[in-house]
């Protein structure tokens, strides 16, 4: 609690400062409207860094300087991390967990003793009451074993999150202490055989009993992490609710104890990776749930599910980074000692490239994860779901590439079970799939931003469509100016700059990208309007550009801080940041050029056609090259 208070104080102070600065800066300027909007935003703490990128603006106050934690928190981390690290290196046998597809009870007990089952549960309920930032830090270590990481994440990132964010005091008092100690394990039951992200097809139903004291839950849920061992479950079920006199089916969330009876768990799934984690089917047969176990209000389950899912994702960045850092250690030793042609592997360019790539990825993920965690730790109820989704997409895909490249360094050895790499590869494969597949998250990222930008730009676009000459000339001249090479200045560098001068070029690149992105979004809205929902290939590129711009921001912010306060090896960070920005700049430009083209030019039309023909036949339809007609 102390930490929290301190954070709030320091944050508000900082915000106040910023506000003052803001006013002072804008005093001379005529743009009253803009100023008003900004200051209002700062007040309400509506975090909108990523959303503002859609308007071609860099809301630098949100992401610069890079979030810091106080000294006592650093101490706290030191105290926490050391035993956890020791536990994971000494007492966790990942190979055995993977082989036997179960986490031994001693290991689970060890985790409980370390308090890892209640990292984010407030101290008053018996948890550690740690911030998102420290949770992310701990996850770096926990991620060294995929099975444990998933078990813990299913328990606290989604399983008990419902009680934590939407439960009432009584529910919290009743359930959280035992969950925090690990005496009870939680699970999150949403997915059904016929329902992934589609809430409308949830079939599990909760009906009020005749005495009105219980809900009876019937139905089945699949792929429930911890399903076999969970004692407390957050179950989502359809309930009948009366809205304006009309009876409607709405989703509600319930806290269900296994002790209520009527719950049967199926055989654990035999999975590719994260084999030690328990995933199984759960079926509910007339499970009586007392009415006081409804989370939030009846019919309000949809929002709760969405919030839980949205808040659980940010930690994947640090998990992946932790994993990659470990992989670099493991592989670099091999690369340095293995000799071929009287040279060690580390002298070969292609091997070097792999290490550079791993370091870059780890650096970017780490930067994004802690930037987002820092944002989430700010007082108020910051909505960082967009940022969190971006971290998840970037790190899950980067993680997959890094893990397979690390395996590649070892060649055939990496492919055997003698080394942990194949296990990492298998474990890592789940990352782009769970907690919202990357495809769906890309849709979320792009559409949320499009909705935000659309609201603001609708008036302008309508004017343009009507043929407002003044606006059109303004647009054309702006385009001309940028095409003639006029630099874009969004205030990252220069007099009030926030980026260190050693990364000025990279900051300029980001600014260019942001400005071009703003006009691209505008033209997309002009072209597609609300039908953009159906343009998934367009949205994918929009999401990718945004993810890379957010990543650029994160590395610039982090490296600027490091260089300013003189962290060890900050020159290496600058190097990494510049390299990444350079690379991302070109990728972004390519994607945005594609976005400005029409579907026949950017291959989208062809891609759709190919897929259509293949899917119509449900097969690869080309004749075999060895076939002949005569």
């Amino acid at each position: 609690m102390m930490n929290m208070n301190r954070l709030i104080v320091s944050r508000t102070f900082r915000i106040g400062q910023r506000l003052l600065g803001c006013h002072a800066r804008h005093a001379g300027q005529e743009e009253l409207r803009l100023q008003q909007r900004r200051s209002i935003k700062t007040h309400c703490r509506h975090l909108a860094y990523a959303k503002d990128l859609f308007l071609g603006q860099v809301n630098k106050a949100e992401v610069f300087p890079y979030p810091e934690i106080g000294n006592d928190e650093v101490e706290e981390i030191k105290q926490l991390v050391a035993p956890v690290e020791k536990f994971f290196s000494d007492d966790v046998d990942s190979a055995k967990i993977d082989r036997e597809a179960t986490i031994p009870l001693e290991t689970l007990q060890g985790l409980k003793d370390l308090g890892l089952f209640g990292i984010m549960i407030p101290e008053e309920y018996g948890g550690l009451g740690l911030s998102h930032t420290i949770y992310a830090r701990l996850n770096e270590i926990i991620a060294l074993d995929g099975s444990i990481a998933v078990t813990l994440a299913a328990h606290q990132a989604i399983g008990l999150k419902g009680i934590l964010i939407a439960g009432n005091e009584a529910q919290k008092k009743k359930y959280l202490p035992k969950l925090a100690s690990g005496e009870h394990i939680a699970a999150f039951c949403l997915t059904e055989p016929g329902s992934g992200s589609d809430a409308a097809s949830i079939q599990t139903r909760a009906t009020l009993s005749e005495d009105g004291k219980h809900y009876l839950i019937n139905g089945s849920k699949i792929w429930i992490s911890n399903g076999g061992m969970a004692d407390i479950m957050t179950v989502f079920a359809r309930t009948e609710v009366e809205v304006d006199g009309v009876k409607k089916d709405k989703i509600s969330a319930f806290i269900v104890e296994r002790a209520f009876g009527g719950i049967a768990s199926g055989k654990p799934e035999d999975k590719l990776g994260i084999r030690g984690s328990n995933t199984c089917e759960l079926s509910f047969d007339n499970v009586p749930v007392p009415v006081e176990n409804v989370i939030g209000e009846i019919g309000g389950g949809f929002k709760i599910a969405m919030n839980i899912l949205n808040s659980g994702r940010f930690s994947m960045g640090s998990s992946c980074a932790g994993m990659i850092k470990k992989l670099i250690e493991l592989t670099s030793e091999y690369a340095a000692t293995r000799k071929q042609f009287n040279k060690s592997l580390s002298e070969f360019g292609m091997i070097q490239e792999k290490f550079a790539m791993m370091a870059l990825n780890a650096f970017v993920m780490e930067s994004m994860a802690y930037l987002t965690a820092g944002m989430m730790d700010r007082p108020g109820v910051p909505d960082c779901s967009l940022e969190a989704a971006m971290v998840k997409v970037f790190s899950s895909e980067g993680g997959w590439i890094c893990v397979s490249e690390a395996l590649q360094v070892l060649g055939g050895l990496g492919y055997t079970k003698n080394y942990p790499f194949e296990r990492f590869v298998r474990d890592c494969r789940i990352l782009p799939i769970f907690e919202g597949t990357n495809e769906i998250l890309r849709m979320y990222i792009a559409l949320t931003g499009m909705q935000y930008a659309g609201k603001i730009l609708t008036g302008k676009i309508k004017e343009m469509k009507k043929g407002n000459i003044g606006l059109a000339i303004g647009m054309v001249s702006k385009k001309l100016r940028t095409s003639l090479g006029a630099s874009v200045d969004l205030g990252l560098t220069g007099k009030d700059g926030v980026v260190h001068p050693s990364m000025e070029d990279s900051a300029k690149k980001l600014e260019q990208n942001v400005s071009l992105f703003g006009s691209t979004v505008e033209s997309l809205l002009y072209r597609y309007g609300k039908t953009i929902v159906d343009e998934q290939l367009v949205l994918k590129r929009v999401a990718d550009v945004l993810i890379h711009m957010y990543a650029m921001t994160a590395v610039l912010s982090r490296a600027s801080r490091s260089i300013s306060i003189g962290l060890r090896n900050h020159d290496h960070e600058v190097l990494l940041a510049n390299t990444f920005c350079n690379d991302a700049f070109f990728k972004n430009n390519y994607w945005m050029v594609q976005l400005q083209k029409h579907s026949p030019e950017n291959n989208d039309a062809n891609i759709k056609k190919i897929a259509k023909q293949v899917l119509e036949n449900r097969a690869y339809i080309c004749s075999h090259p060895l076939e002949r007609t005569y």
């Binding site: 989703i251 919202g436 979320y444 929902v533």
Partner: protein, 458 residues
């Protein structure tokens, strides 16, 4: 121009007489030809003569202007030469008409005379008889027939021969053979090519024909995205299964056999034949049917014909009228539908015209089709059986009034009295097989045939 044409004519005349010398059997005809040519040349009229040489490059106008008297003249001569070969086939045909006997006839002919006298006539006669013997789609038979031609005799030896129509009659016969193959969709193989090279040489008309066939046939071989197998299933149930699947064109559609055809003898001794009933329905059709307003009737309609190659089958559909506009309520957008991302944007912007790639299609709502079936007996009782079978998987059918709107359909084609028979031969009345086998192309060939032989005969 005129001079060169005269030269051309003179040369071809010489070639023709040359041919006449080589082939005594045709000498008489050629003599007549020669006479005709001389007269036409002298008279300065070119038309009849060009008609003779027309074989490959002639304007249709010339064809039409062919005088009638030639036909009569040539009819007589043809009778004389062809009857012999026809007889040969007729004699054999008295026993059985099979591939073996057909081959035997060819063997008999080739062995009878080392000089292969009248082989052109023989080949024409054979071509005509092929469908009768059921070998019109057999490549080996065509090759065997081509083998009747003497080898190397007709191969042009020098550039002049090569330039003009060397042995036009034989070449034309070769082309005719290839054309018949073409019209039956038989693709020549390498053996055909070797034979053609041996008989006519490279760059001759039959060779060109061969090359053209080989150019187009492979290209068109897979032009149909819905290929029909050469051999359709014989069993009516299998045939129905095949044709229903083909019509539904839906991978998820499930074929159900509601009743297998069988014949029972009741206690009273009467023979009762149960027709086959095969139906198809896809999950999306089931879904549509489940959503159908039970107040509005559904219709069983049919029979509708479906042609597959030479076979015609009849099917019935279960359909409804298109729902009136007031019943079509679009599902309202539920913002609490997708857990992950907004399914719709709350924007007041439409797609720009420049990016609107949809076509303006007049959308005519024909009403949904819920299921299809095929049966060998299209009366209401049988179809009712189908509907009650459907009802097991579509319980809503019990509440919807079902109307039968059945046409006479296949009975009209078959004539009266068929439907009452109890002989268990329901199948033919519904699966109508066309006996006259050659398709349009083939018929056209048959029509053309006399004209071609006319040209040759002269």
């Amino acid at each position: 121009m005129k001079g060169s044409r005269c030269l051309h004519q003179l040369k071809s005349l010489r070639l023709l007489s040359h041919a006449g010398r080589l082939l005594p059997a045709a000498a008489g005809d050629n003599g007549a030809l020669f006479r005709l040519h001389s007269s036409s040349l002298l008279g300065g009229s070119q038309c009849p003569q060009r008609e003779v040489l027309r074989h490959f490059h002639s304007s249709p106008a010339c064809t039409k202007s062919q005088p009638a008297r030639f036909v009569q003249e040539e009819d007589k001569t043809r009778d004389k030469s062809l009857v012999a070969h026809d007889d040969l086939f007729e004699q054999v045909a008295k026993e059985t008409k099979t591939k073996a006997t057909f081959n035997k006839v060819i063997d008999v002919y080739t062995k009878r005379d080392i000089r292969r006298r009248g082989h052109v006539e023989f080949i024409y006669a054979a071509l005509k008889k092929m469908p009768e013997f059921g070998v019109e789609k057999d490549l080996t038979v065509y090759n065997k027939l081509l083998d009747v031609f003497p080898k190397e005799v007709f191969v042009p030896q020098n550039f002049i021969q090569r330039m003009f129509n060397h042995y036009p009659r034989q070449q034309e016969c070769g082309v005719q053979l290839l054309e018949q193959m073409e019209s039956y969709g038989i693709m020549p193989n390498i053996e055909t090519k070797v034979l053609l090279v041996q008989i006519f040489g490279e760059k001759t008309h039959p060779m060109r024909k061969y090359q053209r066939i080989m150019y187009w046939f492979p290209r068109f071989m897979h032009a149909n995205p819905f290929p029909i197998p050469k051999q359709l299933p014989e069993d009516p149930v299998d045939l129905a299964r095949f044709s229903l699947t083909r019509m539904a064109n839906d991978w998820d559609a499930k074929v159900t056999v509601y009743q297998l055809p069988c014949t029972d003898i009741t206690d009273s001794g009467a023979e009762v034949t149960l027709p086959h009933i095969v139906g198809i329905q896809s999950p999306s059709q089931m879904e549509a049917l489940a959503k159908h307003n039970p107040c509005r009737p559904v219709f069983v309609e049919g029979p509708f014909p479906l042609w597959m190659r030479k076979t015609c089958v009849y099917y019935y559909v279960l359909r409804a009228d298109p729902a009136p506009p007031e019943e079509k309520i679009e599902e309202p957008y539920d913002p609490e539908r997708c857990l992950m991302y907004p399914l719709q944007l709350d924007l007041d912007l439409d797609r720009d015209l420049g990016d609107d790639e949809s076509f303006d299609v007049e959308d005519l709502d024909e009403g949904p089709v819920f299921a299809m079936c095929m049966t060998s007996q299209g009366d209401q009782a049988t179809l009712n059986q189908w509907i009650s079978g459907l009802q097991q998987s579509n319980p809503i059918l019990g509440q919807i009034p079902t109307l039968f709107r059945l046409g006479a359909g296949p009975r009209e084609l078959q004539g009266v009295g068929d439907t009452d028979s109890t002989s268990g031969t329901w199948f033919p009345s519904h699966v109508h097989k066309e006996e006259a086998d050659p398709g349009e192309d083939a018929e056209a060939v048959v029509e053309e045939e006399p004209r071609r032989s006319q040209g040759v005969k002269q």
